[in-house]
Symmetry: C2
Subunit: 219 residues, 2 copies
């Protein structure tokens, strides 16, 4: 179970990020449709999770509980789930030439644990290198929204999980961390204004995918 | 929830290590009795585990499962549980002046994941520093036995867990890693020949504790 990527791999790895209530589910379905028009049927996955064991770790991470979870415990559980997801699902798929479309990945760790919890970025980067070696998403779509608006939407969905219970200030830091990540690599990151109408959001996503496909074909 | 140790701490941190079937339960009870004769009632704990959440992580680690667990997943789950155990139980106890007597700790990670699984020691050391800062056990008792004999004993106890299902070769590497750790710091480590009679084992443990107490009083 090596996480090493085959240099000959053909599949691309696309991740979708964003804070609560940003419309990820709807927009991921749309991204998939956009890829379908190119004859690509991506393997769909999500983090934390993606395999049975990683989904069990997800439950530990999201369930509200009486015992406060230490910040390092949270961070290490996330990377434990990610190591499993990579070894058992993502890397084999990419190596087999499949595309992978994943709801959240390591940018979420920089945003939530780095930005939100204020954990040291170098620590996150060390774990990223340990678990992923040189694997990074080829394209990251960040659905961006005012945290006030996103939380309003998210809280209509029922019982909040351990993260959704966080403060507005926490989500402002998460959002800022996402934006900072995106600004450092504008080619690989695409920030979508998710406060627009669904139609506008979808058009922006579509042209982002089109641009990515052109770059990809040009290589 | 800082893992920083109070410099004024009075409690000592004693851990007990060893491969399967080495008689840890019986001997830990005996170590506790030895400490009791000095008026010390240690906080008893174990790894992986020690808090509700860490015990849930323990279940993930030990349960045999169909989905093979990636080695890095195992390593990160162990340190996730440890971070929780330290933050919620061990560090607060030591800082309050309590003694802690723990069934397995990070030496087990060097032995099982380093020796057994052949994971890189530098990786383990980096995670140890991340999660423990400068906290190390004050005394480590290693119960040492021929793996053949230990496994024979352990397998009489019912269904083997995910580790007990490992090969003899695996446990030989685990044992060798424990011995190597001990040889590098003979003051802090005490290797007990657990193949002796219970009476002999207990006398060796007792004089080890006595020597530790004398050193401690001499500081």
């Amino acid at each position: 179970m090596s996480n090493r990527l085959d240099q000959q791999r053909k599949g691309s790895f696309i991740t979708v990020e964003g804070t609560e209530g940003v419309g990820k589910t709807t927009n991921i379905a749309w991204i998939r449709q956009c890829l379908n028009t190119y004859g690509i049927e991506p393997l769909m996955s999500r983090e934390p999770g993606g395999t049975n064991l990683a989904e069990e770790i997800r439950v530990l991470l999201l369930e509200p509980r009486e015992e406060p979870m230490a910040e390092l415990t949270e961070l290490l559980l996330i990377f434990a789930a990610r190591a499993q997801h990579l070894a058992r699902k993502i890397v084999p798929a990419l190596n087999a030439g499949q595309w992978v479309l994943c709801d959240r990945f390591t940018d979420a760790t920089y945003a939530y644990q780095g930005g939100g919890r204020l954990l040291d970025k170098t620590t996150i980067n060390n774990l990223e290198n340990l678990v992923q070696a040189d694997l990074r998403p080829d394209l990251v779509l960040i659905l961006d929204i005012e945290p006030e608006l996103g939380l309003q939407r998210a809280r209509q969905r029922g019982e909040p999980d351990r993260f959704e219970q966080e403060t507005l200030e926490f989500f402002r830091r998460v959002r800022a961390a996402y934006q900072e990540r995106a600004s450092q690599d504008p080619t690989r990151y695409l920030v979508i204004d998710a406060g627009q109408s669904l139609d506008q959001v979808q058009r922006q996503i579509q042209s982002g995918i089109e641009a990515f496909m052109s770059r990809r074909l040009a290589v």
